[in-house]
């Protein structure tokens, strides 16, 4: 088998980094946000950190836009899109079928042996 140039890309992007640093790692206490004077430990709720769409978009985090489970509007749009796709496919199939039928008719008309011209009775 021939060897093609590899399209593997190393993409240690900011998004990869943030995904791990902000969203992973060991939690050694619950997600509590209280005055540090009162408790031993403070952990910021990371999801809230990136909850501002505009700010997050700036740093390349925009996955919730396409995640139907997190975006009701997207979910509705996806459902609508599926519905429209089905309708278009049905119309297209019908259209193709009609063209195909017409083509078959034309082909059979072309292939049909021509009838001999009727002889006219001369007076």
């Amino acid at each position: 088998m021939t060897t093609r140039p590899s399209s593997i890309t190393q993409s240690t992007s900011l998004a990869d980094l943030l995904e791990r640093v902000l969203d992973k790692g060991v939690v050694i206490a619950g997600d509590i946000t209280v005055l540090v004077a009162d408790v031993e430990l403070l952990t910021i709720k990371i999801r809230l950190l990136v909850a501002s769409v505009d700010k997050a978009m700036e740093i390349g985090i925009n996955w919730w836009k396409s995640d139907p489970y997190l975006n009701i509007q997207t979910k509705q749009l996806i459902e609508k899109n599926h519905q429209l796709e089905s309708e278009v496919a049905a119309l297209r199939d019908g259209h193709l079928e009609a063209i195909q039928t017409r083509l078959e008719q034309l082909e059979s008309a072309v292939n049909k042996p021509k009838a001999a011209p009727k002889k006219r009775n001369m007076p």
Partner: protein, 266 residues
């Protein structure tokens, strides 16, 4: 509130401390190691007044505050990880003083020691697989058209047939791409110590329109890194019936493989 609190980056086995050759989250170099119960936690002091409730809430959507701290935190963890196993703690883990941190380490020493053993000499790699649906459809369509080419169809019939085949190939192409991506995952599993599946829907399309099909993190032994990368290259170059594309990132400290140790109050 005056004074300092501690930003804690991660936990290692005591005796394996190295000083990170990077800046701390405040841009300085004031790292300290806090030892307890055979463990050692990497920390740096931060202004207590910057971590009050109100201030933190103001920072919640402030990328100019988050970004430098996230990158500094990752750099500090990576710097230590280059030398030894480290359990990365969640971003902005803050303790009020070294004593409270030591108390926590002592309380949780068993699980920390166990986790450190589990991740010793291992590293995390992120793998994303993308597929170009149009390319796959065209290839499938050409294969099917080649099968009927011998039937000497009229040009009109050929046109209609091509259109029909192209339309009908879409689900098949998607299925084939996802099956191929899953087959790669099965191969990678045999070479990984553990894995964590991600949600490919969180990824955006590539510039060429390729759609995200699969996303996972794999924990591999550090000594197997080259073998693992060669395997990826082999998959992409030779075991690629659906023209998939790979994106890899790593090596990371095992962020995805250090589970939550306990919840507050438990």
């Amino acid at each position: 509130m005056k004074g300092h609190v501690l930003w804690v980056y991660g936990v290692i086995t005591k005796g394996e401390e190295v000083w990170p050759d990077v800046h701390d989250v405040e841009g300085g170099g004031n790292f300290l190691w806090v030892p307890a119960a055979g463990l050692s936690a990497l920390a740096s002091p931060v202004e207590a007044q910057d971590y009050q409730d109100k201030v933190i809430q103001d920072h919640q959507d402030d990328t100019s505050w988050i970004l430098p701290r996230a990158t500094a935190s990752a750099a500090a963890v990576a710097s230590v990880f280059a030398h030894t196993a480290i359990i990365p703690l969640k971003f902005a883990t803050i303790f009020s003083n070294p004593e409270s941190l030591q108390e926590r380490l002592a309380t949780q020493q068993t699980v920390f020691h166990q986790t450190l053993e589990d991740i010793r000499n291992k590293e995390e790699w992120g793998i994303k697989i993308f597929g170009h649906i149009e390319t796959c459809i065209n290839r499938l369509a050409e294969q099917q058209l080649a099968r009927v080419a011998e039937k000497n169809l009229s040009s009109g019939r050929q046109y209609l047939l091509k259109k029909h085949i192209t339309q009908s190939c879409q689900p098949q192409a998607e299925r084939q791409m996802r099956q191929a991506a899953d087959a790669w995952h099965q191969v990678l599993l045999n070479h990984a110590d553990a894995f964590q599946l991600g949600n490919p829907a969180q990824e955006t399309r590539l510039e060429d329109g390729s759609i995200p099909l699969f996303k996972a993190s794999y924990l591999i032994f550090r000594r197997d890194r080259e073998k693992f990368l060669r395997l990826l290259m082999n998959l992409e170059q030779q075991e690629n019936p659906a023209d998939l594309k790979l994106q890899i990132s790593g090596p990371w400290a095992p962020y995805s493989f250090c589970h939550t140790l306990f919840a507050s109050g438990k």
